[in-house]
Symmetry: C2
Subunit: 497 residues, 2 copies
Amino acid sequence: MCSDRIRLASLHSKITSAEQAAALVKDGMVVGMSGFGGGGDAKVIPRAMAERARQGNLKITLITGASLGSGLDGIMSDAGLLARRMPFQGDPVLRKAINEGKVLFIDQHLSQVVEQIRSGALPSPDIAVIEAAAITEQGHIVPTASVGNSATLALLAKQIIVELNLSSSPHLEGLHDIYIPEKRPGRTPIPLTKPCDRIGTAAIEVDPAKIAAIVLCESPESAATILPPDEETQVIANHLIRFFEQEVEQGRLPHNLGPLQVGVGSIANAVMSGLLHAPFTDLVQYSEVLQDSTFELMDAGKLKFASGCSITLSADCGKRVFPALEHYKDRLVLRPQEISNHPEIARRLGVLAINTALECDIYGNVNSTHVCGTKMMNGIGGSGDFARNALLTVFVTKSIAKGGAISSVVPMVSHVDHTEHDVHILVTEQGLADLRGLAPRERARVIIDNCVHPDYRPALNAYFEEACTRGGQTPHLLERAFDWYSNLEQHGHMLKP
Amino acid sequence: MCSDRIRLASLHSKITSAEQAAALVKDGMVVGMSGFGGGGDAKVIPRAMAERARQGNLKITLITGASLGSGLDGIMSDAGLLARRMPFQGDPVLRKAINEGKVLFIDQHLSQVVEQIRSGALPSPDIAVIEAAAITEQGHIVPTASVGNSATLALLAKQIIVELNLSSSPHLEGLHDIYIPEKRPGRTPIPLTKPCDRIGTAAIEVDPAKIAAIVLCESPESAATILPPDEETQVIANHLIRFFEQEVEQGRLPHNLGPLQVGVGSIANAVMSGLLHAPFTDLVQYSEVLQDSTFELMDAGKLKFASGCSITLSADCGKRVFPALEHYKDRLVLRPQEISNHPEIARRLGVLAINTALECDIYGNVNSTHVCGTKMMNGIGGSGDFARNALLTVFVTKSIAKGGAISSVVPMVSHVDHTEHDVHILVTEQGLADLRGLAPRERARVIIDNCVHPDYRPALNAYFEEACTRGGQTPHLLERAFDWYSNLEQHGHMLKP
């Protein structure tokens, strides 16, 4: 039945049910799973594991690439399966459990997860659960719509469960480029010098004897929900594209803007869509998640190559792209997230990084993760990998949220994910602040003048001016730095009524 | 007279006085200068420039490697010469001017300075002032006790002033390894795979036609003030060395601990001295500043190779080492700070990074720069380059300061330089907190139990426990997070009397 999908005959005997495969997972185990941003998740085995947890004592540490799609994180959390979860998530049910302290969440730079497992800083997986499009003649695993951390998780795990997705495109084979950095000491440079370089193998070269179970399924890929650009995101994209035009004109950016990294989310998506009508051609992407916009730009002849570690598409776009994968394949590569996000490569290539801020402050520090300083939203993801090492680092956000009750620019961010050192450009629908080469007091002036909503500008000006009277490299009124959060809690608005 | 020091005869006509050389510097210029941590500074020309500023209108932007020695930053600041200063300083007079807003200070990751000049994010130098030990037959510049940013500053400047230090050791020639990463796009990997690799040239290959003036001097190298270990720093070193022993035993660190990066300062110095009596051999350094401890460990047969970008020694150690440089030369290399601190190399080599924190918080965020959140101490320096990319990242600090009026562990740091993601190990004289793989609530428990001074432990416990009742991934009481700084200001003690 599936001899083209499992080409090592001796593995046919490993085919089993999701329930029996899930029974291999024991209480207290560390489980590695494929999946990044909703692409390439195992789909039936996590559900079977959740079911087992509901019936008895089963708690695990779960390590994935990044977030899982289809509500899987919520299903597993709800079943009480998850004791510890890393390195990223984006599920409302799991988020609630994390913020209630019921699931311990270790939020991490996505490029560093497997490096930390290798160094012993994080536990090594007992079992890896990997969605596959095929198993080769050698027993090697061909991933589906993401690589994420799947390769190293599978290589380090004692046992592997493969979830073979019969509905995945057979053209996924050959799309991936699996490269694992060598052991330290003695590691040599990662030999990647262009986004389109292929430096590894097409499949994950595991020892087939470790494959303990194969579960067949026919699950469709999770569909991403991407909001279309609204008026504000469109204006943000316009500010940014005008700025890029100037930078190219002045020779500070190459004509094709350099390798683009664009984060997940509606603003980033609007920026990418904005490039459809911008005067830049021969674009290339060196990014994490490839979204709808990648394929729109390819179809328009604007984007000539895209490197990522995951493909996550809306239902409509997925219906169009996955069956036509053969047509895009020579312009695409999926890599391990360690390589897609590697500091060595981001700096070498001179990536242009565009990511979304939850909030920023008048000095350019960015909070990407914690609502009001305490509640986790999703996680830092790859934003730090890119922001620190890019040629140009941009953060975008709308200037206000909740109908104006919240200003996204505050006196001092309630949690810092990216320090002032790593933020070159801030953009809101109000305008763009170019912070390069500026001292903190200059940055404050430029941010307040350009990025802040008019309703909040007088209050931020007053804070900054009073703070300056006290002196310092980075003037603040520490005793009032967080007043806006107290106001929000007490009065439902960051400014007192 | 100095034909062995200036070996390109046509340059002899460029010899001039410091005053005449300084007259090449015009108001508003961007000046690049050699110097890193007090090693390799030009000494007479900066004084002549300061003198000119005292006599008339002369304000410049000054870019160096890092801090200058011999009070030079103070002299230039005092003379009103400095309008803008980057990327690091450590001078009390300049510090005061910065915190009064009189000098605009751009605090930067030291690996990124010249990359940002190349990309146009920072201004390119009009003039470079470089201390040299010699000028070669080709007119290339041999630096003295540091490379810092000297190579790229000299290569990018329109004009170069060389300060030829006749008292510098002729054996400095051959010590340096000048490698400049290629242009982007098209940059290839930096071909360094071991701390002892030599990948560049022995001198800075400038066009000799750009050398506009050569000033001869006989200035001794600045002497560093390094405090000997006291009881607390000794205990910190002991905690850390015991931890390293366990890590080696469990196979998580190599027998020689891997390439060591150790920051400047008395605690870091105590740790290095502690290695004299520890059971580790074949140590290697891949660091920024090589201090007294480097040579003590070499003399003891413990350290077999040291790579840095600067040598900064106490007066006594300098008197011993510089005249004997020939003896150490095959075990030493000085590189541009872009390479000594490069993320690509730190990650590839698996550096063990030990740096000093000004303060940290219960979740492991570290403030390296801002006293009470506003006043600049020195700058972030290279700590972020290493902390983000090391195999193991350690921050050390005494648990209290000012006789107990200040706790170095606070509810929330008043300024973030290194986020929780980049901090693996925290050590005070109270003990060591291993934060690897822990969620924030677990980190708080481990830090409070192990690192906090007993006088502050109950207050931090109370803060943390009350914060937990409000929930969140990273529980806080925002409205009271900075109370300890207000207490300190009002009552002279972080805890209310």
